[in-house]
Symmetry: C2
Subunit: 193 residues, 2 copies
């Protein structure tokens, strides 16, 4: 299930009138006029709400003679309500703004010379972040680095270690405490390499 479906379901249920309709229909099917009366609203308003609930699949209808009865689909309701708990488990991989791996690799190829050093620091934010992630790819999580130590590491790639060190902090790849540097958890990074 993707983002829009999740949003639409929760938007649909996130209205007092529609929750009252759900509550009524849980006791059994009803037709539009009956719902309108019970809630003190106009039939057209009920149509409006019913169509929202039907759009997200938790209500279906069946005609009996001149009257259309509306039914609550409890299975669909259960499925939809629990979908938010499964978010991120599977699929939904492209909805954060991480880049595809091949895009990252081509950025690295463009900015890293054949001898492994950094040509220029990218000015575009996205590309800059990919390069920063690349530069620190073999630093260790949980380990603290002295400023000198970190400078030496960066200098292997580029002479302007001060700019790069500052960028690593500003882009939340690293955290500075008492002059010591440490990697932030990857969850904080704008890009993971």
């Amino acid at each position: 299930m993707q983002l829009d479906k999740l949003v639409n379901y929760h938007k649909a249920v996130g209205d007092p009138t529609r929750i009252r309709i759900i509550s009524l229909l849980k006791k059994g099917p009803l037709h539009g006029q009956a719902i309108a009366y019970k809630l003190g609203l106009q039939p057209s308003t009920i149509t409006h709400h019913i169509s929202k609930l039907r759009d997200v699949g938790i209500i279906y209808q069946r005609r009996q003679g001149n009257i259309i009865y509306f039914y609550l689909d409890l299975e669909r309701l259960e499925y939809s309500s629990k979908a938010i708990l499964r978010i991120g488990d599977e699929g939904m991989k492209n909805q954060d703004n991480n880049l595809q791996n091949k895009d990252k690799l081509s950025i690295v190829k463009n900015f890293i010379n054949s001898d492994g050093t950094l040509n220029i620091i990218p000015s575009q934010r996205k590309k800059k972040n990919v390069i920063l992630a690349y530069l620190i790819r073999d630093l260790q999580h949980g380990k603290t680095y002295q400023e000198k130590e970190l400078n030496e590491h960066i200098k292997k790639y580029h002479e302007d270690y001060a700019t790069i060190r500052r960028e690593l902090i500003m882009q939340h790849f690293m955290y500075r405490q008492n002059g010591e540097y440490e990697l932030n958890p990857k969850e904080m990074w704008p890009v993971i390499f």
Copy 2:
């Protein structure tokens, strides 16, 4: 009332930005600036969304030095998301507009004379409906009544049978077809006696 809690939870989750925040936080805590960056939004916007999610209890926060980390409360999320499935099972009894039995009885006592006739037709809608439900309490579902027959039935309670007969239709207790009258299913009634 329970209704508002349900509405607020679904309203809170029913927004693409907030679902993306939930998705991010499911992988681990993040601070405001990181979220803002990842979603391409301003920090003030994140504050806005975080506070909505916190209001419904699915996010909490912990300060670490200068930075506040936001955590997703998965237990609360699970509890809240499933609440809609329990609607009507217990509690939430006052949210449809049915009255308590004792209230109905006291209304009947006020308007029905000691000889069993109706004193005056209530003008308040709720009371009027209770009385109407009382008057037809021994008519049979599925049976059709001729107009004369229905008039006679009503006259046992009150002389102004025309007004009451008209009200029975207007309030959806009964249905008229070709001059014949029939009870509507109880699900249509505004009040059941």
